[in-house]
Symmetry: C2
């Protein structure tokens, strides 16, 4: 497999964690977003979306991090990223989407660029925007975790929810977001970071992080 990836992209980090949890090897293909390599000809030939991450599995091209992770879970079921019970699966997916659909899309590089470019926001307002969505969005996750505490987001093994939570916390820390109001979130984050699959794929350890 080949993973097209940018070390600081949190959606990329999700897929790195998923591949590591499954013990799957891959070639790392860096796509440098600040240099706009995602809209360069060589990447556009591979990717219809011009976003990272993208996973090539043989001739199959897969996009959207959560769709990629569901695919990996269906084609390499062990260890599972989702519980077996439909209600539990729905809870895990909802926590994952509280991050992937409510927080992260608002704080993408392309979104931040549009705010300070065409929308003419100041750097200060851009940072306020960033922190607002992280801090309020994580409150939703906190309430989900507080309602049913476990070692990880759901129970005693990492799931799709943890795979989304950890990269979001890395972003939050990079932008100096407040995190003292989400103790369950931070407890789960710290539990995850004790696992090799999360630790060894962290942004600074990527080949393109230098």
């Amino acid at each position: 497999m080949e993973l097209y990836n940018y070390f600081r992209s949190s959606a990329s980090y999700r897929v790195r964690i998923g591949l590591a949890l499954k013990g799957l090897a891959y070639d790392y293909k860096p796509v440098h977003l600040p240099k706009n390599e995602q809209t360069g000809e060589s990447y556009m030939a591979v990717s219809a979306s011009r976003l990272v991450p993208l996973l090539k599995d043989g001739d199959t091209v897969l996009t959207q991090s959560l769709a990629i992770l569901e695919y990996l879970d269906e084609t390499h079921p062990e260890p599972p990223l989702l519980p077996a019970d439909p209600v539990a699966r729905a809870r895990v997916r909802a926590i994952a989407m509280d991050i992937a659909c409510e927080i992260h899309p608002l704080n993408n590089l392309r979104v931040l660029r549009y705010l300070v470019g065409p929308m003419k926001l100041s750097e200060d307002d851009k940072n306020r925007w960033y922190r607002h969505w992280v801090e309020t969005g994580l409150e939703v996750v906190e309430r989900q975790l507080a309602a049913r505490p476990g070692t990880y987001c759901h129970g005693d093994t990492p799931t799709l929810a943890d795979v989304c939570l950890v990269p979001q916390i890395f972003n939050a820390q990079r932008f100096d977001c407040r995190l003292d109001h989400v103790p369950h979130v931070m407890r789960v984050f710290e539990a995850c970071m004790k696992l090799d699959a999360f630790e060894q794929t962290r942004p600074e350890r990527c080949p393109d992080a230098a």
Copy 2:
């Protein structure tokens, strides 16, 4: 089942379509977002996320539209919202997420309010923002559909991708977005609107649309 819903919320419309495709009956519980009922005490007692849609199935509370739709597909498999093959499932989910993770989160009511409130954007800039993400986001969907044309987003039966696409087009039309650059998207939209499940759940037909 009980569906907590706002007629103009496109994530709510997704779940209405899914329930209709499955032929499942439900009580419609309106939550008026412009009046901030989602942060009122009675709704907060039900919902940790304070977002719509929310589905109650007996005592089970389900949030996040795509997680709800996957749950419905797992608990009521016929007719399926996802194909059987993992590669095809990944394609359908990726198209759904090109909408649900890349377009819609940027144009939520709460996001638009934050832009004109704390970020002090003008109404004109807010509308430019809205159209920018719809018009560029739909280009990604267009390329996906053009690469493998079918009656619907994937093949000859509606899937999770169509369930996301149709509500996004309703929003696009409401905000006068350009749509002539996405002919495959519009062809699929028109095919979907010939189906009762999409037509009879459209925003204007909801009990709270009056």
